[in-house]
């Protein structure tokens, strides 16, 4: 791992809506800031700080983050209305949720904006993985095009009823793991809410012995 922990300055450059609750921000990449795909930073605006995984790849000119507007979430609300040019502080990078290739197949499992680290990995050239992305509605499947091109198998898992896109699975990612992923040993990468990580890990223990499990929990 080549990264070094430090505080950097950046500015807000662009904001793009992804869905009614999620948006993407692009910020300037601080000079000398280096990270590995899958890592996160502590992003601060004013006195509010929160950890976000980086969506962009290290070779890209700017840093991109995918943010879900949370009711009562101070930073996500601020970022959703901040002026372009707003000064941000970037502390990091943190974490060890990085891709470690082995001879086994990689299975990425994400819920909601937990897709972010897998975006960064894919944009960095990692391919040939299976990706399960759990969301409620089809419109929450941001970055679907990117994954359709690079994944060996891309399985959107939708919990709300219709419309159900082609090749999508109706149900939670954990239900897919429990009933549809062929048995065997894999390298699992889980990113999302605690409940998904707990349930997925227990299923992996049961159904996919001798697998490796890497996790990144979103709060």
């Amino acid at each position: 791992m080549k990264t070094k922990l430090a505080t950097h300055s950046a500015v807000l450059l662009k904001r793009k809506l992804l869905s009614d609750k999620s948006f993407e921000i692009m910020i300037s990449s601080p000079p000398e800031f280096q990270f590995d795909p899958g890592q996160r930073v502590s992003l601060s605006l004013g006195e509010h700080t929160r950890d976000y995984s980086i969506v962009s790849a290290p070779q890209e000119a700017e840093l991109i983050f995918c943010i879900r507007r949370v009711a009562g979430g101070k930073l996500s609300t601020l970022l959703s209305v901040a002026d372009m040019g707003a000064p941000l502080s970037v502390y990091g990078p943190h974490g060890y949720f990085t891709f470690r290739p082995t001879s086994r197949s990689a299975v990425f499992v994400a819920t909601g904006t937990g897709i972010a680290p897998f975006c960064s990995m894919t944009r960095s050239g990692i391919s040939n993985f299976t990706l399960l992305h759990g969301v409620r509605l089809q419109k929450d499947l941001y970055y679907a095009n990117q994954f359709q091109q690079n994944a060996h198998e891309y399985v959107p898992c939708l919990t709300a009823t219709d419309p159900l896109p082609q090749k999508a699975f109706k149900g939670k990612v954990t239900a897919y793991l429990e009933r549809h992923l062929p048995s065997g040993s894999y390298d699992f990468y889980l990113c999302g809410r605690q409940e998904m990580i707990r349930d997925a890990t227990l299923i992996i223990d049961e159904r996919f012995p001798d697998s490796l499990v890497y996790t990144e929990m979103f709060y």
């Binding site: 791992m1 060890y96 990085t98 470690r100 290739p101 082995t102 390298d187 605690q194 990580i197 707990r198 890990t201 227990l202 992996i204 223990d205 697998s211 490796l212 499990v213 890497y214 996790t215 929990m217 709060y219």
Partner: protein, 188 residues
């Protein structure tokens, strides 16, 4: 952020290298002992609260032990070792320098001593014995799979634990000395 994840409710846990192992696995056992040692050092530091230099020393060691734990929680053949920072010779020298400086002030020993004396010294002796247990488990984990030569990061880890036991021994004697208590020699 909740402290409980629930992923270990059925007796398994994850290594840093991603392996799902029993909580009774030798690596988890060794990490548990390092955690026990770290907690005893915390108790020791709490007793030494007025001695800022000693507390800073112990907190540095507590941090080093977390670093050591990451190595024991990672299978040596995993690429996850690339993410780990080695125990450096500087960290070992830090202990050696502290040992040398304590020893300069201590009377020479001509016999085994009974672990104990002042309550703080007793904590230091307890930490020393747990440290030796950590070392034994680390030796078992490290030397068995590497029958030929032990890789440098692991060699440093073993040296560090060996030196830490010595440090805790002289720290115990230092604590007795500053509280005016003579170490009690062993008599048959």
């Amino acid at each position: 952020m909740k402290i409980y994840t629930g992923t270990g409710d059925k007796g398994k846990t994850s290594l840093f290298s991603g392996d799902r192992v029993s909580k009774a696995d030798a690596r988890i056992d060794a990490c548990g002992d390092l955690d026990e040692l770290n907690s005893i050092l915390g108790a020791l530091a709490a007793h030494l609260a007025t001695e800022e230099k000693r507390v800073a020393e112990l907190q540095q060691i507590q941090s080093d032990l977390l670093q050591a734990g990451a190595w024991l929680a990672t299978r040596p053949d995993s690429s996850a070792t690339d993410s780990l920072r080695e125990i450096s010779t500087d960290q070992i020298h830090f202990l050696e320098n502290a040992i040398d400086s304590y020893e300069e002030e201590l009377p020479k020993l001509n016999a085994f001593i009974l672990p104990g004396g002042h309550i703080i010294a007793a904590w230091a002796h307890l930490a020393r014995t747990v440290c030796r247990r950590c070392e034994r488990k680390a030796v078992s984990l490290i030397t068995q799979p590497m029958k030929s030569q032990v890789a440098e990061p692991y060699q440093h880890l073993l040296v560090y634990l060996n030196r830490l036991s010595d440090y805790l021994f002289v720290l115990a004697r230092h604590c007795n000395r500053i509280h005016g208590i003579a170490d009690k020699p062993w008599k048959l």
